[in-house]
């Protein structure tokens, strides 16, 4: 289907969707000039709020190339800082004219610069999933930090500007605070547009994102610009947080932090680069929500449809984006491909895991048996991402969506009686659904694909589970699977069952990695263009890997719901979109391309709980809050994953691993070479540096630890 027809198809589908939804859920309120004016006045402040949130996202992405999940959390943090300064009862009671500039123009930029120095600068050249997960780690860390600093049992609220007064348009009062938000949003858009497109500074910042090396050769001080960009991003976040705080509950993990996810749709309308289009997106979203609030009634299976509007809009916009082109021009240096385990090694390792778990389980309490079982179920979910993200490079943020569909299939198709066939059906049903998601993947690359999967996960959470054919209003009770007449109802045997299932799945995954299909996936990750050139069928390969991953995830979901015993339709059923992000985060920390990384993902959360429970120290409680942030730092230092790094550290000690010792020696030699710096801008560029640059670009034949790729 050519682009024109596909666009037409999406538009027709969108219009049909709007008509059908409006017809089905029509509340009966008359549509008059007055009611439409009210709708507009209602929507404008909301648009301003979404625009403010999305602006920061766009600014950071445009100037740093990083899509910052923590943008809302950073705004929330500075709203608290501002509250601390201005609140006259329990805060310090500073005047607004001192506190506001101090926070927005001093503290926020300094924090941005610090963030850049410590974390963000090191994201340059990292894979998309690493970049995303570092910001997810930061999101959790900021929530934890705010919870530690400001007692969440106490009131924290910021008053609106102008004492909540306003003026009337139609029947609706537009408060001066909201008016100020709209004006600030527009002013910010204009100002940022001028900064980014009309000043040398802005152009340099964008140039650094487009091609850091080339920009540096043109005299751009990349590191300085990066710090400035993050300072600017934090300033915008702080301004948004302070302006939005009077409109929301300021709880650390509440609306102020999560509003940014709603704003994704608006930002994508502007393709994450155009602020004016972002504002158009914000207005469309606000009008859609306003339309729903004023004219539609959603109940029963559609109760949460209005909350799914941002996800629906995000999905539609992504479908309307032009098809991503294959990229040939870029050449960048990456680390060598990770060592691939053999099937035999994996079999031995998984057998050892099973024996270790068997021995360990004999001494575990019931609670810890449960925790370990959940850890292994989580590892099974994470394993489903290894082929998709780790090998094929297709970032999915919907691991629990397919697990949820699989869980539903299990619950509906015999899970109540523990049917083994229901487990297999859960996997089979998810496979074609996963393949369907591959079609957007043919159009979208990288971040857009990740956001599309996130939108899909939201739709599953908000719409799918509530359908009568899925879970409906109540909940469904399931049993543990019965195999050969044996039920695995007790915690001990269930843990061993899940461990065994994980082991078998891990061996199968490794065998797959060593097959021609596995090599095709790696080729796809390295360069779709090159893969296509050598005859790899991109469509077929993507379809296969999405179907495979979805099937594995559905299979894991069946075990997950066995663990839960109950499947509800609410977002507390264990399969919510946001609950999937920590799994991806933990997988990336462990190593996204290896099965032991998935195992790490399973035990990551488990470890923090066990530490906290066994050592009742405040320090550990603090560490549990901040662990995701520290993990984010860990990812930067070890982008291949902690398990891979640990493995590489230990491997040379093994007598039979001559190859590991040779690699370690080469690595040591490579690390001994000096840093180039910024191509002579920060220090003299000497002849030896030329050789190093040549090596980096793959010009030299002597490339001890790096290979070049195109893509």
């Amino acid at each position: 289907m050519n682009r024109r027809w596909s666009t037409l198809f999406v538009w027709a589908g969108t219009i049909a969707f709007i008509v059908v939804v409006s017809w089905q859920a029509w509340a009966g309120n008359p549509v008059t000039g007055s009611s439409l004016l009210n709708l507009l006045v209602f929507s404008l402040p909301l648009a301003g709020i979404y625009a403010m949130s999305a602006s920061g996202l766009v600014v950071v992405y445009t100037t740093t190339g990083v899509f910052n999940f923590a943008q809302g959390a950073i705004g929330m943090f500075f709203a608290y800082v501002y509250w601390q300064l201005v609140d006259s009862t329990t805060g310090w009671g500073w005047p607004t004219w001192v506190a506001l500039p101090l926070v927005v123009l001093v503290l926020a930029p300094l924090t941005g610069i610090a963030l850049d120095r410590v974390i963000m600068r090191h994201l340059q050249g990292q894979s998309l999933v690493v970049q995303l997960m570092v910001t997810v780690g930061l999101l959790f860390a900021v929530i934890g930090l705010v919870g530690l600093i400001w007692d969440q049992q106490q009131a924290h609220s910021l008053p609106p500007l102008f004492n909540g007064q306003g003026f009337k348009i139609g029947d609706v009062v537009l408060t001066w605070h909201r008016f100020a938000t709209i004006v600030t949003a527009v002013a910010l858009a204009i100002g940022l547009r001028i900064l980014l497109f009309r000043t040398r500074l802005g152009i340099a910042m964008r140039a650094v994102v487009d091609n850091r090396g080339l920009a540096a050769m043109s005299g751009a001080r990349a590191s300085l610009l990066s710090g400035f960009a993050w300072g600017l991003g934090c300033s915008v976040a702080a301004l948004a947080g302070i302006l939005l705080a009077p409109e929301v509950d300021m709880a650390a993990g509440g609306a102020l932090t999560l509003l940014i996810i709603t704003a994704f749709a608006a930002a994508v309308v502007g393709r994450l680069r155009s602020l004016p289009l972002t504002y158009v997106g914000a207005l469309i979203l606000a009008i859609a929500i306003g339309w729903s609030n004023n004219f539609l009634l959603f109940a029963g299976r559609w109760t949460n449809v209005s909350e799914a509007f941002p996800a629906i809009m995000l999905f539609i916009v992504l479908l309307l984006l032009p098809r991503a082109e294959l990229r040939f021009a870029r050449t960048h240096v990456i680390r060598r491909i990770e060592r691939v385990s053999t099937v035999r090694d994996t079999l031995i390792g998984m057998s050892a895991l099973f024996v270790a778990m068997w021995l360990l389980s004999r001494s575990l309490s019931d609670a810890n048996l449960s925790r370990f079982a959940l850890g292994m179920c989580t590892a099974l979910v994470a394993l489903s991402l290894v082929p998709l993200i780790g090998w094929a490079g297709q970032v999915s943020l919907a691991p629990l969506a397919f697990a949820g569909i699989g869980a539903t299939a299990y619950a509906r198709l015999g899970g109540a009686h523990g049917s083994i066939w229901a487990v297999l059906l859960a996997a089979l049903i998810c496979m074609p659904i996963g393949a369907l998601l591959a079609f957007p993947a043919m159009r979208l690359h990288g971040l857009y694909l990740a956001l599309a999967t996130m939108a899909f996960a939201s739709l599953v959470e908000l719409v799918f589970f509530a359908q009568p054919f899925a879970v409906g209003e109540g909940s469904r009770v399931v049993s543990h699977v019965h195999i050969a007449g044996y039920n695995f109802e007790d915690r001990h045997t269930f843990l061993l069952l899940v461990t065994a299932v994980f082991g078998v799945a891990a061996v199968a995954v490794v065998a797959l990695r060593r097959s021609a299909f596995g090599r095709r996936l790696i080729a796809l990750r390295d360069s779709e263009a090159a893969s296509a050139t050598v005859g790899v069928n991109i469509l077929e390969t993507k379809l296969a890997v999405f179907a495979l991953s979805a099937g594995m995830s559905g299979f894991a979901g069946a075990f997950l719901v066995m663990y839960y015993h109950t499947l509800g339709s609410g977002s507390n059923n264990g399969f919510a979109m946001l609950q999937g992000l920590p799994i991806v985060l933990a997988l990336v920390i462990g190593g996204v391309a290896c099965v032991s990384g998935a195992l790490f993902a399973g035990i990551f959360g488990l470890a923090t709980v066990l530490i906290q429970e066994n050592w009742h120290l405040n320090l550990w409680k603090t560490m549990v809050f901040l662990a995701p942030g520290l993990a984010a730092l860990g990812i930067i230092r070890n982008p291949a994953g902690a398990v891979v790094e640990i493995g590489e550290g230990f491997a040379p000690l093994l007598p039979w691993r001559k190859d590991a010792r040779r690699e370690a020696a080469e690595l040591k030699a490579a690390n001994a070479e000096p840093e180039v710096g910024e191509l002579g801008l920060t220090r003299d560029f000497e002849e030896s540096d030329v050789l190093l640059v040549d090596r980096g670009l793959g010009i030299s034949n002597d490339v001890p630890r790096a290979t070049a790729r195109t893509g």
Partner: protein, 469 residues
């Protein structure tokens, strides 16, 4: 995680506190300055403690200690310290007991389990408690949707007796209807219940009789906001609204709102209040949802509403501070004595305020949970010739199931713990200026029991009653 925690708390507390209850009629509580028969309060070591040889008759009971677990949602990064007040209160109650001779000749030890707003952690907390505690006290876990571990918990003799759970909050029907779980403040929802379909509810008239008396001849009609985040939140809030309709408060408009909604989401709500000239408004979300609604109503110039109604979830000092003047006149109906009464009004409240250094409304209910447990232990001893070694889960269950009149020395109205029947007696509070003020009855230490008028009993499908919005 898409958690709308406050909403869930709110709707449960709505049913608990806004006169949902009934069944057995309860008499008015003690008059001011006088307490009912002391139970655990002022508990001193009985004489038998000096002569008895203490053993370890049950899991969680040693010759020197009696261990209970308080499980609450505290350590979630999404909503840190949510029910820290409950944990603190149970520990404070243990300190109080130990300072007054302990319980069953033993020192009370409190173990903490953090359910972290997670069904898994709740389940694991139960599993741990099953292994090291005689009972769970003050349970405040919003996502406790699996009680199999609680019901199947084996005692020291290896029997599946179950783990006694004296819960502060019961959000899910499985916990409400579990044979081993008992609410500190029971709801009026009938059991057994499958989780969907029609269910019988009982709602008291106390609140509405107060309003009808205060505004005689006024045709009350208004706007209702239903928390729509989860099927369980809808199911828990619609019965109350339908009861109000049946009692004579007409519904001008109904809206479904989320705990994550912005203040602007309440613009249509405020518009509806103006359009219908509503004189009544009620939001089923937590206090912060009510604050947003009140602020928006103020911004939109709503002046017609005479009654801003709410239940115990609004009884929070943050309602006043975060409301910033917009929440003036807000009602909140409690089935505990308000802390504003002070220790002089009630000795139990005095003890709570003395031992709990950071008291709050949830803490107060958790304290009462502790007192129910203490009463059950003392009753179990009494039923077995004052034998301090008769403290087993089975005997505690027997004592709880036979506990039909309990009022924590007047700190709550009389409830039937064993039959899981609450009370229709309430205390009406209102925001006046910068503080909560008792308005019904005005005398400290007392509850309005509406002359023991029987509750309204009706059957509806609570989820189907939600028409959208």
């Amino acid at each position: 995680m898409r958690l709308r925690v406050g909403v869930i708390v709110a709707v449960v507390m709505v049913l608990v506190a806004t006169a949902c209850g009934g069944g057995t009629k309860v008499t008015n509580s003690a008059p001011p300055g006088q307490t009912t028969v002391p139970v655990a309060t002022g508990n001193t070591a009985p004489a038998v403690c000096k002569t008895a040889t203490l053993t370890s008759p049950e899991i969680g009971v040693t010759p020197t200690t009696i261990t209970v677990t308080v499980m609450a949602d505290v350590g979630s990064s999404i909503k840190p310290a949510l029910f820290l007040g409950s944990m603190n209160a149970v520990k404070a109650w243990a300190d109080y007991m130990n300072a007054n001779g302990g319980l069953a000749c033993r020192k009370v030890v409190v173990k903490e389990a953090d359910s972290k707003l997670s069904p898994d952690d709740a389940k694991n907390g139960i599993a741990t408690a099953c292994k090291d505690s005689i009972a769970m006290v003050g349970t405040t876990s919003l996502f406790l949707n699996d009680v199999t571990g609680m019901e199947g918990c084996k005692d020291k003799a290896g029997q599946g007796t179950g783990l006694p759970d004296i819960a502060e909050l019961q959000t899910e029907a499985v916990q409400q209807c579990s044979k081993v779980s008992f609410a500190t403040l029971p709801t009026g929802s009938a059991c057994p219940y499958s989780g969907s379909g029609p269910r019988q509810f009982k709602v008291g008239f106390t609140t509405y009789d107060y309003y009808f008396t205060k505004y005689p001849g006024v045709d009350l009609h208004g706007v209702f906001v239903i928390p729509k985040d989860l099927p369980s939140t809808i199911a828990a809030s619609t019965p109350l609204f339908r009861a109000e309709n049946r009692m004579g408060i007409k519904s001008d408009a109904e809206f479904g709102k989320s705990g994550l909604d912005l203040q602007t989401a309440y613009t249509p709500v405020a518009q509806a209040m103006k359009r219908y000239n509503s004189n009544y408004a009620r939001n089923g979300l937590d206090y912060s949802g009510t604050v947003l609604m009140r602020k928006e109503a103020k911004a939109q110039g709503v002046t017609s509403v005479k009654i801003w109604d709410c239940s115990i979830q609004c009884y929070d000092k943050r309602m006043i501070t975060e409301g910033q003047g917009a929440t003036e006149g807000q009602y909140a109906w409690l089935n505990i004595l308000p802390m504003e009464d002070g220790g002089a009004a009630n000795p139990e409240l005095a003890a709570f305020l003395q031992y709990d250094k950071k008291p709050d409304g949830f803490g107060e209910i958790a304290w009462v949970s502790g007192e129910i447990f203490a009463r059950a232990v003392n009753d179990a001893m009494k039923a077995h010739n004052n034998d301090p070694n008769a403290i087993t889960r089975a005997n505690v269950f027997e004592a709880i199931r036979n506990l039909h009149e309990f009022d924590a020395n007047g700190m709550i109205p009389k409830i039937d713990v064993g039959a899981k029947q609450g009370s229709t007696c309430l205390v009406g509070m209102q925001v006046q200026g910068d503080k909560w003020v008792r308005v019904d009855p005005t005398q400290p230490g007392q509850f309005d029991c509406d002359n023991n008028k029987p509750p309204l009993v009706f059957t509806i499908d609570p989820v189907a009653e939600y028409k959208g919005g």
